[in-house]
Amino acid sequence: MRRVMTVAVLAASLATLALGARRDVFAIVGGRVVTVSGPVYDNATVVVRDGLIEAVGPGVAAPPDARVIEAKGLTITPGLIDAFGGVGLPSAPARGGRGGGGASPAPAASPAGNPLAPQAFALDRVRPDEALKARDQGVTTALVIPKEGVLPGQSVILNLSGEKTEGMVLKQPAALHLHMATLTRQYPGALMGTIAYARQALYDARAYREEWAAYDRSPRGRKRPRYDAALEAWQDVLSGREPLVVTATRENDVRRALALADEFKIKVAVAGAPQASRLASLIKQRSLPLLVSVNFDPPRAATFFGAEDEERERKDIEEAQKNPAELHKAGVRFALVSGYAASFLDGIRKAVEKGLPREAALKAVTLDAAEAVGIADRTGSVETGKIANLVLWSGEPLAKDAKVKMVFVDGQLYEPDERPDRRGEPSPSPSPEVER
């Protein structure tokens, strides 16, 4: 993705630059607008001002100070939200499923984080230039958390615009995360250990809260409790201000997450969840926020029994691919997330191919995704007052032949670089024109 200066040159060919037009006011005219929260408008206008959506509808006139973008033949949707993945994080070597990823690039020279660090901020590990690459796929917003570890820390939700991570932050911290995973040569090395570890941490965090509360009530004559960053990190989960997002790989991990919620009276969400459709009624009944991964063939741990596991693996992949469609059929609301997949869009298309209606898929990567991570009041649909995160598509959005022509993030216009050899390259140095 190139920067705004070059984009502006291109945009000039499409946009009629009215006299006195401002750089942060746009009128996208003549396109088909899929609001997701409401109707689909043909031949409508979206007005973007100062980062927000000012107006949307068929009868809306372009303001005189707006730069007009001709969108005839294009479809405008909300920006895609990847509500669970590794956008902007240095990528570990991809060891795809069977035989996959042999030619993957060497891992970035970044030390793996502490696998048991609830106090760690994903924000601190995000590389903005890496993160911005996701815009090429129409992603405007991403929840970021490292894939590795058991307690990888707290996620951040970023809006993919600007040059520095601080300016990109939409929500920080977004959630505390627990991967239902295990470590090697370090506790917890078994799933039951992972659960025991989380349980103990929650007990400790609760005691820590009480200890400080007692001290704050009457510090005189009392010894000051010792500050503990890891236990501090659990406090927002304990108080219900922040959810614990549990990464589930098996059916019963969903139940395990709910059991933790019940035991400690906390809010949980479940991410990954390739077998969630088996528990559709339970998920509905519990109104469990669900972040369903489109990473259908993640790397698996090696096992002894090759043949049987290969068959099982094939079945697991098939089930995972149908999982979103089955959940939709069962009336479950969910976000569709990249879950560290190599290509988010490819994964979404696969889910559509396996039966998820395209409109439902679009909702699952916009408004329902926003809902699942608590940002639906500010983004996720094309509505007046919401953040101007938009994608202009040629062709049917999310379809295989669809192209992301333009992306608005925080009301700034970007245009993906369509030359395949340029994809994934480091961005050129920032243009002074767009520095705010």
Binding site: I195, A196, A214
Partner: protein, 428 residues
């Protein structure tokens, strides 16, 4: 095998809302209870419980009748040492004391071995943590309610239990693990590890007892509780006799060692598991009051198993020990009735006593004998019907009921095999 899973999935038991009574009639009933053997007996089941047993039991109108003429009706088999239906690693082997981890957290209700074991007449199992740790995790006693969710498999009200392990496994003799070797590396170290853990648990208990005493006093600030350690909490509960200890062991010296440790700290070993040299110290085990759960005739598969003899179960039983025979294997669990038959051959154990070793005795060891282990009025209708005497070499299990619900029916299984082949296009 894969077809087996599909068949098993097809045959999920679906009990009706209002179940009519079930009468199993005409079979030879080996009650394993005070009624002994009943020829041409009837077992009447109502509401999941045994309502009547005897030769002259009236079958109420509307009852579902199962004809067992020429067949054998026995209590459901109980496997006192199982690792079936565990999701993920069965060992939290990163540390040698992990009393806080719970098998109940990781029950895999979709493990097809549940169904396969039902096909061997098994209705309950003691699902244990592995033996990598001196003090492993908490057990889960389950019923083989195939098709039910993980929490519904748990044997409600079964006493809590925990796995201990001695010898080669906790000292990691036969396992090459990369990196720094884990302590303990010797039998001395295993003992020291266990003693150290209980020293800490004693301190923990003192701390909590003092806190609770302070709480009782009125006036002044409410004191803050000490840190709750789920690991030490469990060990404290062992000290207080609230948790059954199931100790994996082989050699007589380590059996005596653990008895000494337990008696020093004032708790009991509920069962010694495997206990292949138990015959050498049977009276010491009996004196301590422990039960034993052993293999019928496994031996020499590792150094500490060289002194095993197939008379082990019989000798321990003669010394007054409650003995059971276990599988420690998803595969062997399906044929525990033949494991019991072996002690008739080798140890001269009577047939009823041998059958007890896979039914009532494991039930007693797990503290669930008021509910299961024999066919008696008021007990759970956990029952298996065999085509011939369960010790006969050509017997097979035809029907298995748990709580009066048929979870395995051989006839239906056989019929469904063809069906699965057709519908799923499975390989021949």
């Amino acid at each position: 095998m894969r077809a087996g899973l599909a068949v098993a999935a097809l045959l999920l038991a679906t009990p009706l809302a209002a179940e009519p009574p079930i009468a199993i009639v005409g079979g030879t009933v080996l009650t394993v209870g005070p009624q002994g053997v009943i020829e041409k007996g009837t077992v009447l089941i109502q509401g999941g419980k045994v309502a009547a047993v005897g030769a002259n039991v009236a079958v109420p109108p509307g009852a579902t009748v199962i004809d067992a003429a020429g067949r054998y009706v026995i209590p459901g088999i109980i496997d006192c040492h199982s690792h079936t239906a565990v999701e993920g690693n069965v060992n939290e082997g990163t540390e040698s004391v992990t009393a806080e981890v719970r098998i109940a957290d990781v029950i895999d209700d979709k493990d097809v071995n549940i169904y396969r074991e039902l096909a061997g007449g098994v209705t309950a199992a003691n699902v244990l943590h592995g033996s990598a740790n001196s003090i492993g995790g908490q057990n889960a006693v389950i019923k083989m309610r195939w098709g039910k969710g993980p929490q519904e498999l748990l044997f409600e009200g079964a006493p809590r239990g925990i796995k201990f392990a001695l010898g080669e496994n906790p000292k990691r003799s036969n396992f090459r693990v990369p990196g720094t070797p884990r302590y303990p590396g010797t039998r001395m170290g295993v003992e020291a590890t266990i003693r150290q853990a209980f020293e800490e648990a004693r301190d923990y208990k003192r701390e909590w007892d003092a806190y609770e005493k302070k709480l009782g006093r009125t006036g002044g600030d409410k004191p803050l509780p000490p840190r709750k350690s789920l690991r030490l909490e469990e060990l404290k509960d062992i000290l207080e006799g609230k948790v059954y200890v199931h100790a994996h062991c082989y050699r007589s010296d380590e059996i005596l060692m653990l008895i000494k440790v337990a008696e020093d700290f004032g708790f009991k070993i509920r069962t010694f598991q495997h206990v292949l040299e138990g015959y050498k110290v049977a009276s010491e085990i009996a004196r301590h009051g422990a039960g034993t759960s052993t293999f019928s005739d496994w031996w020499a598969y590792k150094l500490e198993a060289y002194d095993a003899i197939p008379y082990n179960a019989a000798i321990m039983a003669e010394h007054g020990v409650v003995v059971s025979l276990n599988s420690d294997s998803d595969e062997l669990a399906r044929r525990l009735y033949w494991e019991a038959a072996k002690v008739v051959k080798y140890g001269g154990v009577s047939e009823p006593e041998a059958l007890k070793m896979v039914t009532l005795n494991p039930a007693r060891q797990l503290g669930i004998d008021k509910r299961v282990g024999s066919i008696e009025v008021g007990k759970d209708a956990d029952i298996a019907v065999f085509s011939a005497h369960p010790f006969s070499p050509d017997t097979r299990c035809d029907l298995t009921l748990v709580d009066g619900v048929v979870y395995f029916d051989r006839a239906k299984d056989v019929a469904a095999r063809g069906q699965v082949g057709r519908t799923a296009g499975a390989r021949p």
